[in-house]
């Protein structure tokens, strides 16, 4: 108490030069017998104030001084201090156990400074210590010691705890964007059928079964019944009995839910139209032959071969009735009939417009026939050309025999007869019209012969037999020669005398072949009803195989000017296709079947035997086993 008071007064006493207790907080009894009490700064004794009050004075003071009760003796300074009113009230409050401060409200609302809330401002404004951001050297030393110990193997790593349960995320690898994602694969449970009028306790009379219906219902198997219960009528809802099948139905429902296949069927919804490659419409690819226009009648047996004159005015046909007929294209008039000594296997008009010759092959002979159907100058010049042949001085051995026909044959138009050792099945001209190739039906090493008409020379270009040759053809521009055997087409370079390419037709037996007028594409018809299109620049495999015919193909042909090709088959139809070849080497040919032409009747299971295009118009001719030739325009 004293100290409290003294300390509260000390600054004031010090300032006013009051005697001050310099002894500190020591018991005052120690200085009881001394005149001084402590020392001042100079080391002089501080003398006690003179105490002149005795007991009596004390008593008098007690009796007379009204402030006596509030006067207290300060032992430190040995003075009497009169307490102020505030001090007294403070003493009173302390004595009554109250807070010293008058203004202190002990029932103030509680402010919880250390709540869980995170304050946005720091509690203290003290800047961070330097040590908080300077690595501790001691720690470093400790760590380095531990590192050293680990290195030396003194500290072993802690054994990993083995957890006995392994968990993994089943869907961790699922792509959230997957079409078949779990969230998208939700299959709702099958809905229950809503109750109808027949389930009512009072159904309309039409829902109630008649006697026969009821009997029929009872006789039906439970699975076949339309309704699983008999609709019944009750006068009021109260009289409806408990539903006997309730448990059963609940059970069925549970089975339905449980056994419901919750798997989405992966049905591919593809429009079949989309799978078909986009081809232009045949309408846009006109002109092409669409309708039968003329029938050339006159032959009495099947017409094996036809050929068009280079001008397009005349048509030559050879038949099994041992005749060659020459027709006017525009009217269907047979202008000439030439009897030959056997069934005509092949007939080809010389492609050179300056020469009027038709090569006809039958039996073992190839006959060059002048049909006298062209400009007078042209056919006279042709006769002169053949007559102007001079025998060479040295006779060379020839594989065939060249003959000038007898008078009666000459009157028929025969100009030269080439007699082969075996029967000939095909002839073909080179585009210049001087060379002629013939195919012998003989499985020896002499199957193909090339003849030069102007020099009456023949040669066998192939020494080896490489399979049965079906047909041959000259390249329209380059000195190439195409030889079709049963399975493949070989392309030879006639100048270098080497095999250039071997086209694998992927079919069993090639029947016919045609070369595109550009020379880079070949089509092959085969007896197993396929037509293969080869792009020589692309591959030795067919670029496209068309299987539109139902039966064996007998003849194929390309048009000279229009992008058309046709195939004739034993099923009696001619199929015309649009076959556009682009100059751009990067673009593949466009092949669109455009028309099926029917007209020939099947005879002895044979339909169309040969097809040929008109040289200038988009018309196709077909010869058939029904002894007719038909023109489709």
């Amino acid at each position: 108490m004293v100290k409290f008071l003294g300390s509260s007064r000390t600054p004031a006493a010090f300032l006013h030069g009051d005697i001050r207790n310099t002894v500190g907080n020591v018991p005052m009894e120690w200085y009881q017998d001394y005149p001084h009490i402590g020392y001042d700064l100079e080391g002089k004794k501080i003398f006690k104030p003179i105490r002149n009050k005795d007991e009596l004075d004390e008593f008098l003071d007690k009796m007379e001084n009204p402030d006596y009760w509030r006067t207290v003796h300060d032992k430190m300074t040995s003075t009497d201090i009169r307490l102020t009113d505030e001090q007294i009230s403070l003493v009173h409050r302390l004595q009554s156990g109250q807070f010293g401060d008058v203004n202190f409200n002990e029932y103030e609302p509680y402010i919880d400074f250390f709540s869980g809330e995170t304050m946005i401002h720091p509690v203290t404004n003290r800047p961070q210590d330097k040590r908080s951001f300077i690595p501790s050297l001691i720690e470093k030393e400790k760590v380095s010691k531990m590192v050293h110990a680990i290195k030396m193997g003194w500290i072993k790593p802690r054994k990993p705890k083995e957890s006995d349960l392994q968990f993994y995320d089943l869907w961790a690898k699922e792509d959230p964007n997957a079409i078949l994602g779990r969230h998208k694969m939700h299959v709702p449970a099958p809905k229950m059928k809503l109750p109808g009028h027949e389930e009512s306790y009072n159904p309309p009379p039409e829902y109630l079964l008649t006697e026969e219906e009821r009997l029929a219902w009872e006789q039906q198997d439970p699975e076949d019944r339309k309704l699983s219960f008999l609709p019944q009528k009750f006068s009021c809802l109260r009289s409806v009995p408990a539903y006997s099948r309730f448990i059963h139905e609940r059970f069925e429902r549970c089975l339905d839910l449980y056994l419901c296949p919750r798997q989405r069927k992966m049905r591919v919804n593809v429009d079949p139209e989309d799978l078909i490659p986009k081809l232009p419409k045949p309408r846009d690819l006109q002109p092409f032959p669409t309708i039968q226009s003329l029938i050339y009648r006159g032959h009495s047996s099947l017409v094996r071969c036809i050929s068009l004159s280079p001008s397009g005015q005349w048509l030559a046909s050879g038949s099994d009735d041992c005749t060659v007929r020459l027709w006017e294209v525009s009217t269907g008039r047979c202008m000439k009939t030439v009897e030959v000594g056997g069934a005509v296997r092949s007939i080809v008009w010389n492609p050179n417009p300056a020469i009027c010759l038709v090569a006809v092959c039958f039996n073992e002979t190839v006959v060059l026939l002048n049909p006298y159907l062209a400009d007078k100058l042209v056919y006279n010049a042709t006769d002169q050309l053949i007559a102007s042949y001079v025998e060479p001085e040295e006779e060379r051995p020839q594989p065939v025999q060249w003959q000038v026909p007898e008078i009666e044959d000459s009157d028929k138009g025969f100009r030269l007869i080439i007699t082969h050792p075996k029967s000939v099945k095909q002839v073909t001209w080179h585009s210049k019209g001087d060379y002629l190739a013939s195919v012998l039906s003989d499985n020896s090493n002499m199957q193909v012969l090339i003849h030069q008409v102007s020099k009456r020379r023949s040669q066998n270009p192939f020494r080896k037999n490489k399979g049965l040759v079906q047909c041959v053809s000259f390249h329209p521009i380059r000195p190439y020669f195409f030889v079709a055997s049963q399975r493949c087409v070989r392309v030879y370079n006639l100048i270098k005398q080497e095999l250039m390419k071997k086209l694998m037709a992927n079919c069993k037996w090639i029947s016919s072949m045609a070369i595109h007028p550009g020379g880079d594409n070949v089509i092959c018809g085969s007896y197993d009803s396929r037509l293969s299109w080869f792009d020589l620049d692309l591959s030795t495999k067919p670029y496209k195989v068309l299987r539109h015919h139902k039966k064996a193909l007998r003849g194929v042909a390309f048009h000279k000017n229009y992008p058309l090709f046709a195939s004739g088959s034993d099923d009696g139809s001619v199929i015309v296709c649009h076959g556009m070849v682009y100059n751009d080497l990067l673009q593949n040919p466009l092949i669109v079947p455009v028309k099926v032409l029917k007209g020939h009747t099947l005879t002895h299971n044979l339909g169309v035997l040969d097809v040929a295009f008109h040289p200038t118009q988009p018309w196709v001719f077909s010869s058939g086993a029904d002894a007719t030739i038909r023109l489709f325009t």
Partner: protein, 438 residues
């Protein structure tokens, strides 16, 4: 049953009815309307004999019921419909059949005679009754086209063209029935498929398979033109082979890229040619230049020009007969397409006196008579031929007209040629009578 308000009118004064609107059933057919007119005429004149009428609604022949026709043409049924009626064109009847030994390639008629060219390398002259008068033999190959040039008193000039690359100008003395080859026109390098004589009869034009058209003089002279080619041949042989004096063309018109199938003169200075290169070209004969080109999509087989309606009719391999205006310069050249044939149209011919009628012959063995006012279907099909029709022609026949029907102006005989397959059978060509009682 709905009714329509109609008003009938006609050009023919004889069959005029009162110009008042009638109400007739909408579903009336031609026969019903014809009966109405006949009833009206009977009421007007006593002694009216029944006449069949045909009806034109806004220039088109009525072929279905009236209401259907108006619906198709988009004519309002609310207003009074003007219907023109004309006496019905009677169905042509086969009149004569002239038999040939071989295919007939061409026919040309004159007032008295009929000239036909045949595949047996001859041409023949017939009377109109079908009696053979003369056989024109001289060509070494099939005669492709024939034409009358002119008749001058007792002598007639006629032309034949052949596959032997020549055309021969013949002079025929009718009285003595003597035929003489006057000129052999050489120059073509292909079969001469078509010839046409100019309207003033001094020139003719020939079209050939060698893609050329050549203009020749049709006046016989005694001078022989020199022919440069064929020098290497023995002159004597050439002389014996040749029929008449050699004549060379005045002018050669080249421009077609395919064979010329048909030529004609549209007037004295203009030649029109149809070709396999899908074009019809018009040529100026004075200058030898091409004037214009009409392009089609298919091969043209034949063309015909009518000076009355100034239109070209073409027959092509796509089975249509097309009408063209050769003078129009705008893009729409085809005026009408007449579609009914099922084979190549090989011959068309405009009527010489009726500007609306033409006939067409086709490889489907049918000859059809068309009226340009009813372009949906032909007026009549003439289906007596048993084989391909290669040529057709009209003929005016004044004599026959007089005793067939006093009021008839003309009787036309259509000659169309029948073709047969086998040679043993005679080849008939038929004469058809068409009575036009306009």
């Amino acid at each position: 049953m709905s009714q329509l308000q109609v008003r009938f009118f006609t050009e023919n004064a004889k069959y005029k009815v009162d110009d008042v609107p009638f109400s007739i059933p909408a579903a009336s057919q031609v026969q019903d309307l014809s009966n109405i007119i006949n009833k009206l005429l009977e009421a007007k004149h006593t002694g009216h004999s029944n006449v069949e009428f045909d009806f034109l609604v806004r220039g088109n022949f009525l072929r279905t019921s009236l209401v259907n026709h108006m619906e198709a043409e988009g004519i309002s049924t609310e207003e009074v419909v003007e219907i023109e009626y004309v006496q019905r064109f009677m169905a042509p009847q086969p009149e004569e059949c002239i038999m040939h030994d071989d295919w007939i390639s061409s026919v040309d008629t004159e007032s008295e005679w009929i000239l036909t060219g045949s595949y047996d390398k001859t041409a023949r002259i017939w009377t109109q009754e079908g009696k053979a008068v003369m056989t024109v033999a001289g060509h070494t190959d099939v005669v492709k086209d024939v034409a009358w040039v002119k008749r001058d008193g007792v002598t007639s000039l006629l032309l034949t063209s052949s596959m032997d690359q020549t055309a021969i100008l013949w002079e025929w003395n009718v009285e003595r029935n003597k035929l003489k080859a006057r000129h052999c026109c050489r120059g073509h390098a292909g079969s001469v498929d078509s010839i046409a004589v100019s309207p003033n009869q001094t020139k003719f034009c020939s079209g050939s398979w060698d893609k050329m058209l050549k203009i020749w003089s049709a006046v016989p002279t005694d001078k022989e033109d020199e022919l440069e080619e064929q020098r290497d041949r023995p002159r004597k042989k050439q002389k014996t082979e040749q029929m008449g004096l050699t004549r060379t063309p005045i002018m050669t018109l080249s421009g077609h890229i395919e064979a010329v199938s048909s030529v004609l003169w549209s007037d004295n200075e203009e030649v029109c040619s149809a070709s396999w290169d899908h074009t019809i070209r018009l040529w100026d004969v004075e200058t030898g230049n091409m004037k214009s080109t009409l392009t089609g999509s298919k091969v043209f087989n034949c063309i015909s020009y009518s000076p009355l309606c100034r239109r070209l009719a073409s027959g092509s391999t796509d089975r249509h007969v097309r009408l063209w205006d050769p003078r129009s310069k705008d893009g729409s050249l085809v005026l009408l397409s007449l579609t009914s044939h099922t084979g190549w149209v090989t011959a068309v011919r405009w009527s010489p006196s009726n500007e609306q009628q033409l006939i067409s012959g086709s490889l489907d063995c049918v000859v059809k008579l068309w009226d340009t006012r009813s372009c949906k279907a032909p007026l009549y099909d003439m289906a007596a031929h048993e084989d391909k029709v290669l040529c057709v022609d009209w003929r005016e026949d004044g004599v026959r007209a007089q005793h067939a029907n006093r009021l008839a102006n003309f009787v036309y005989i259509n000659l169309s040629i029948l073709l047969k397959e086998t040679f043993s059978v005679q080849f008939p060509y038929a004469l058809w009578t068409i009575l036009d009682c306009g």
